[in-house]
């Protein structure tokens, strides 16, 4: 057999090889293993059911010379204040190409019992705290990107709340990227929220300096202990970038998880949310909104696993597609044998504005318990002509009327965001972004 050129997977692996020597034994083994799995599995193809509508090959595989985007401050001379959300009183942490930038963090006044630091620092100084949670949910069986991130992530964000710690202000995570179409960044967050603790997180993504698109392979892992609560709002708007974002959440008894994923600018996005309702009376709300235009491709996958009785989950995903964009929604609700008295609801609504836009939805239910209430609904259509006519009959121009209707449409998702300043910021952004 003739030796072929190195595969894309091998090229990436080669980049990471020299980087695997870390002090912590657990982490060292984990990264080695994950790299092996990644190379063995390779990027998913469209033949795999979960990737039927998203072509990773076209997006990543044709990158001839992949490289890792490293920490850099070039272009950050004016500081990071311009990335702040106006009017939001918050703690701030900054990650540059996925690496925790301690010098830019603003954590003064953080309550006692709350620990926020880089993952590398956590592995060095708090290995007892972190090893029980790090990469425990993201299993090898699932997808190659998760393995890639586990192998590659060097220093993400670690947030640890002891029992009974209520963080008074939201935490704003500023993910900054600097790279080009060939570079890869691997942000990774780990949140551990103790019994009766609570936390609100806003995460935003930006480019800085001479940056033109980047490939972001990101993971957030979340553990909520009993009666904990967390709000996690993610704004994906890094222009020209490809993003694979996996979020894993493990939710304890009486705990409450609330997440909102807003996607507006990124070129190619795949979001995977895997939520396990692990104990009775736990609750999860998953909301999402995306606006796609041009050739954007936005794929939202969710999986909610009801494992024990009396849990609730609720999903609302909305999309507006214009230009030649394409969207995917694939939601899965599992109700395991023991999970009686489950309430699970899932809804995906989409609007196509142009001839060439495509929306593929696949809402799935897999139910093994009988005393449950589960339903899902999905619609794809266009703006209501009658509503449009109503507005125009009252003297509102067609364009204005469309913007008004679309804003109202988006509002249903946005109003679920409980941080006022962030919601206002998003609403403005979205109004600006709506197709003119």
């Amino acid at each position: 057999m003739i030796m072929e050129e190195l595969t894309f997977e091998n090229k990436l692996a080669d980049l990471l090889k020299f980087d695997l020597e870390v002090e912590n034994e657990y982490l060292r083994e984990l990264r080695r293993e994950s790299l092996k799995f990644f190379v063995a599995k390779g990027l998913p193809t469209r033949k795999e059911e979960e990737w039927k509508y998203s072509d990773t090959r076209r997006t990543f595989k044709y990158i001839a010379n992949p490289k890792t985007a490293h920490y850099t401050e070039n272009g950050l001379e004016n500081g990071v204040s311009k990335y702040a959300v106006p009017g939001l009183d918050c703690y701030t942490v900054v990650l540059i190409n996925g690496v925790y930038a301690a010098s830019h963090a603003n954590l003064s006044g953080l309550p006692k019992g709350a620990l926020i630091c880089g993952l590398d620092e956590a592995f060095r100084d708090y290995s007892g705290h972190i090893e029980d949670y790090y990469a425990r949910q993201s299993s090898h069986a699932e997808n190659a990107f998760t393995d890639l991130n586990t192998a590659a992530a060097t220093s993400g964000l670690f947030v640890y709340l002891e029992n009974g710690v209520k963080v008074d202000k939201p935490l704003h995570i500023v993910q900054l990227f600097n790279g080009n179409k060939e570079s890869f960044a691997y942000p990774r967050n780990l949140f551990v929220v103790g019994d009766k603790s609570s936390l609100a997180v806003v995460e935003t993504q930006h480019h800085f300096g001479a940056s033109d698109g980047i490939n972001i392979i990101a993971i957030s892992e979340i553990t909520l202990m009993d009666e904990a609560s967390m709000q996690y709002y993610l704004l994906e708007e890094s222009e020209n970038s490809s993003l694979v974002q996996a979020t894993y959440a493990d939710i304890g008894r009486n705990a409450h998880f609330d997440t909102n994923t807003i996607t507006i600018n990124s070129a190619w996005v795949r979001n995977d949310l895997e939520i396990c309702l692990n104990d009775e009376h736990s609750e999860a709300h998953l909301n999402g909104l995306f606006l796609a235009t041009g050739e954007q491709h936005i794929d939202n996958h969710t999986m909610v696993d009801h494992r024990l009785p009396h849990c609730n989950s609720n999903q609302l995903y909305k999309g507006v597609l214009n230009g030649k964009s394409s969207g995917v929604f694939n939601g899965k609700i599992f109700v395991q044998r023991d999970a009686q008295k489950t309430n699970a609801y899932q809804s995906s609504k989409n609007i196509l504005l142009s001839e060439d836009a495509v929306m593929n939805t696949k809402p799935q239910l897999e139910i093994f318990a009988d005393d449950v209430k589960c339903s899902h609904g999905t619609t794809t259509g266009q703006l209501d002509e009658e509503a449009l006519f109503y507005l125009r009959a009252r003297g509102i121009g067609e364009h204005q009327a469309r913007v008004l209707l679309l804003t109202a449409y988006a509002q249903e998702v946005l109003e679920k965001i409980q941080i006022d300043a962030f919601r206002t910021y998003l609403t403005k952004k979205i109004e600006h972004q709506l197709p003119r």
């Binding site: 799935q364 209430k373 794809t380």
Partner: protein
């Protein structure tokens, strides 16, 4: 709870009503599959060369294919060399009247409740009875031919109307479509052919009863229905099979073609094949490819199915809506009990403008069974103003069963409106309480609620089928309480 269990047990232990074996000598091919077997079947049926070539092409393609594995059902691996691909009751001679039919065969039909002479005299249904693989008797043929309606067995059609068969065979479901269609195309033994000429409204419901009889014979049927401009036909397919311990494969192909403007085809199925015993041993594998195409403007194809039998049901009756203003419908009740599995649903492919489709699927799972709805709605770029509504509900009875929904919605036209909704629930204690309070027994209450749940689909069935379907449902689920 104890009461529920008792009732569930009663149902679980109910014997399969149609479990008997009729002892008719069959003229069978040797076991196994090879090119020789394909040639044997073709020769046995005196087929023209083009059909033999078609079969061989399908067979050669089949050899290159792999059995699919994406489905949400599990069954032991099928050994395709362990099946008899042809078995015909003999002697096969032209019958002039019902009296000439083998008395034992007639007794079999009587046990099934579809005695031919009874049918002929009392009802207005023409039955093309298919026992195993060869059409044994065709009634009402003369009456239909006056109108120009052709309704005959597939092998007769090959002899008498080769031009029609040649034109339409495989035009909706190509031989190479999937693993099981390729297999069917290679070895299909017989089936029904139906042609409704321009402007004719078929005066009676056409019906075929399938029945798998000899042990180890696969049933490879082909049904082809062609409706010309302004014609209408309602076709019924009803199935029962005797009790067997070994799994039997049924891989049929059904093709519907609504050729002309305003052509309408209504296809109804009640499927009650042997589901296996209560431990999940035996039962039929029902792997059928059913597809219809609406070519004509404002043509319509409607599928209605009541699936209560088979160990494994795996099929997706589909509509390709090509003509402008064409309509596709799918109404389904799928009941699984014990260890039965069903992965069924539909595909609606919208191509023409102003096309409409409706999907109503009702799944009922009981015992340790698994019931899946899997459906595709695809709105192509050209399908302006397409409209789809889908509803798939699942009812769970008992805590050992599973219900699954896998709808795919692919929309590439902004003027399309596509809606899908699904619910999963059990029979509410409050509903039962309400009925019991009004003097109904627990069993009657459940029957009432389940029948009400399925009403939307049963309403689509022709009268006599609706009655049979309700009875079947009652037998399958009597008294089960979730």
């Amino acid at each position: 709870m104890a009461e529920d269990k008792e009732i569930l047990d009663q149902v679980t232990q109910g014997e399969y009503k149609y479990g008997f074996v009729s002892d008719i000598e069959s003229d069978a091919a040797p076991m196994g599959l090879s090119e020789d077997i394909v040639r044997f079947i073709s020769a046995k049926k005196n087929e023209p060369t083009w059909l033999l070539d078609w079969r061989l092409k399908a067979y050669r393609h089949w050899l290159t294919m792999e059995e699919p594995n994406w489905q949400n059902i599990h069954y032991p691996k099928i050994n395709y060399q362990d099946i008899i691909y042809y078995s015909a009751p003999k002697p096969k001679k032209v019958l002039n009247s019902m009296d000439e039919v083998d008395p034992e065969l007639r007794a079999t039909f009587e046990k099934l409740g579809i005695s031919l002479d009874e049918q002929k005299r009392l009802s207005n249904v023409a039955v093309d009875a298919v026992l195993d693989s060869v059409s044994v008797a065709t009634t009402f043929r003369a009456k239909l031919s006056e109108l120009g309606v052709i309704f005959c067995s597939f092998s007769d059609a090959v002899k008498e109307h080769p031009e029609l068969i040649r034109q339409y065979l495989g035009s909706v479901v190509p031989a190479t479509d999937n693993f099981f269609t390729a297999l069917n195309s290679a070895v299909f033994s017989d089936g029904s052919f139906c042609y409704i000429p321009k402007g004719v409204r078929c005066p009676m419901e056409l019906s075929t009863y399938f029945r798998i009889n000899a042990a180890n014979t696969g049933q490879f049927e082909r049904t082809l229905i062609v409706a010309e401009e302004d014609s209408y036909v309602s076709y019924l397919e009803g199935c029962t099979a005797p009790m067997r311990d070994e799994n039997q494969l049924h891989a049929a192909v059904v093709e519907l073609i609504a050729v002309g403007r305003n052509a309408q085809i209504k296809y109804s199925t009640v499927q009650n094949w042997y589901p296996g015993n209560k431990d999940g041993v035996g039962g039929i594998f029902n792997f059928v490819t059913k597809r219809g195409i609406c070519l004509g403007e404002a043509s319509k194809i409607s599928w209605t199915q009541v699936e209560t039998g088979s160990a494994v049901t795996w099929k997706y009756p589909s509509c390709i809506l090509k003509g402008d203003h064409s309509v596709g419908e799918f109404y389904s009740v799928a009941v699984t009990n014990n260890y039965q599995q069903a992965d069924t649903g539909t595909k609606m492919i919208h191509i023409g403008r102003n096309t409409k489709s409706t999907i109503v699927s009702k799944g009922i799972s009981a015992g340790k069974s698994n019931n899946s709805y899997r459906g595709l709605v695809r709105i192509g770029k050209s399908a302006k103003n397409a409209r789809n509504f889908s509803q798939c509900d699942s009812l769970l009875m008992g805590d050992q069963c599973g219900a699954h929904t896998f709808p795919y919605l692919e929309v590439s036209n902004p003027t399309a409106i596509v809606e899908h909704e699904a619910t999963t629930s059990k029979i509410g204690e409050d509903q039962i309480f309400y009925c019991k309070q009004r003097g109904l027994s627990q069993e009657d209450a459940v029957n009432l609620i389940v029948n009400g749940y399925c009403k939307e689909v049963f309403n689509q069935l022709p009268m006599e089928f609706a009655v049979e379907a309700q009875k079947l449902l009652a037998v399958s689920l009597e008294g089960s309480v979730g």
